[in-house]
Symmetry: C2
Subunit: 321 residues, 2 copies
């Protein structure tokens, strides 16, 4: 019975989610804690996280039976077990936090593995979700930003330095929108939730056609507003999704030329707009693929319950510890 359970931790800018998971992917205990009340003090955050993990293990009744802790965190590096300069985590800005090593120590030596959140999501999908029988797929997370986890021949791609899979920062539009990362035209400046809101704002300001979106406060407009308008048949909102899906499809074609995956798997808040995204994505992807791949690459959406997916994905990392 020893080592038959793992812990999954999903580190986000505002909250961290913790869960104790069994071999079938069942979450036995879980909780959510704040990530944003520790200022720049990573040690305080990690102490609080360790206590929260212990509480969950106790609640699940699995003390002494934990194989390891898997963590998904922005800018997480698998090789180093570190979080490297993550702009959304106050305690990891401008420095490299030795997350896995310190957390393991605070947990009395339970091994900790860490990767970035999109890689964790890909692992979760592979072990429990939509990519269960796939050896080659690319996970794209459409959230506040655009993340990616690449699985080739059954294994996550980490690359030479552990940072592989930053497809959200490949160029979608040469010389395009300014990205937080310092580059221009990154895929995530157009195709994340924030990117969609940016498109809406730009178009509402520069165009004259009527739209339900003109009733929304333009400064606070969100991708959810665009979704609601599209749902109501608004032409401009539908055009925004068409534009977004087209850029995604064009980029996906390039990704396919790289690793020839069986499928692209979509996950995240914006992926909930699949009724408006699927068609333009597939059209643009197929238009930009070599004949050998045209109409052969699947587009699938995450099969995991969204609230559990992050924990399951992170926990999946711990099975190899």
């Amino acid at each position: 019975m020893k080592n038959d359970f793992v812990v999954g931790v999903d580190v986000g800018g505002q909250t961290s989610k913790i869960g104790v998971v069994d071999k079938d992917g069942k979450i036995l205990a879980q909780s959510v804690m704040r990530s944003d009340i520790f200022g720049s003090d990573e040690d305080k955050y990690l102490s609080a996280l360790a206590e929260e993990i212990k509480k969950n293990i106790k609640e699940a009744g699995k003390e002494g039976q934990i194989r390891g802790v898997g963590v998904g965190a922005p800018n997480g590096n698998f090789y180093e077990g570190t979080v490297y300069n993550a702009p959304n985590l106050a305690w990891a800005i401008g420095k490299t936090v030795p997350f896995a090593k310190v957390l393991s120590k605070k947990l009395g030596g339970i091994p900790v593995a860490l990767t970035n959140d999109a890689n964790a999501a890909a692992l979760g999908e592979k072990i429990y979700g939509a990519a269960k029988d796939m050896k080659d797929f690319i996970m794209i997370t459409l959230g506040t930003g655009v993340g990616s986890g690449i699985v080739i021949d059954g294994k996550l791609v980490y690359g030479h330095d552990g940072f592989a899979g930053e497809l959200g920062h490949t160029t979608a539009v040469r010389g395009g929108r300014q990205c937080n990362c310092g580059l221009q035209g990154c895929l995530e400046t157009y195709c994340s939730a924030i990117g969609v809101a940016r498109t809406a704002k730009e178009w509402l300001e520069t165009r004259k056609d009527p739209s339900l979106l003109r009733n929304v406060n333009i400064e606070a407009i969100s991708s959810k507003d665009v979704y609601d308008a599209a749902k109501a048949g608004d032409k401009l909102a539908l055009e925004i999704f068409n534009f977004t899906g087209t850029l995604l499809g064009q980029s996906f074609a390039n990704f396919v030329h790289f690793s020839a995956p069986e499928a692209i798997v979509l996950f995240g808040g914006l992926a909930r707009s699949k009724e408006f995204l699927t068609e333009p994505i597939m059209k643009a992807m197929n238009e930009n693929l070599l004949p050998a791949w045209k109409n052969k690459i699947k587009l699938v959406y995450s099969a995991l319950k969204e609230s559990d997916a992050a924990i399951l994905g992170a926990s999946a990392l711990a099975w190899d510890l």
Copy 2:
């Protein structure tokens, strides 16, 4: 002593190169035969190739000691052992040739493995060349076209269907030049030998500035002409290399965001212009990389003697047979 030797075959449109290779990468016997005198009859070609291979094995004195034959061929599929619709091979146009199976039979059962020519080049570089100690690199072949072989965690990436690594057909310029493959703006329409000649022709026709290249017959202009002019200090020719290198660097940045390689390895005829390409490539690549990778990715040129590289690369495939 049995199985201590392999045969490498490089299949090209005009010629096929054959060599018997030992464990140290020494070529013990080699020859070149025509590939283009068999019309559409793949069986005739494969019979002639089998005879040529036997002749080389005999000449090397290694009959009965061959572990296998490795073949690099355009549109070669590793999983299937087939050559799929290769436009430059008359006997493989519009059909799928079961190359490995048929050749193995004609060789009395010696196992045959096959992959595309760029993958073979990457393997050669990994076992004998510039990528000897690298687990993660991307090989880019700058020849008539642009090919690629991607090595991740020490292994060639074949993808779900065996066709992975078609980076020459990722989009370098959205809506750009028409490519033979049917797509537009493919990297190889700009950054192959033919692409460079196309740039020269376009610019000479649309610009007015003086250039040594104006002395060349514009219809027959080649990348070698551009190289010679650049060597003589010609401003337009230097600009062409600057343009070519910039597009390569921009694309390489996207590739790095995918697999985080230690290095990009360049090979092929156009790579001989490295004195004019390195600077614009590095500049554009670094300008388009996330901070974590800026100035950290190496650009290296093939270390193999060009005439041997194709044979060595293909032969490397046979060691795993």
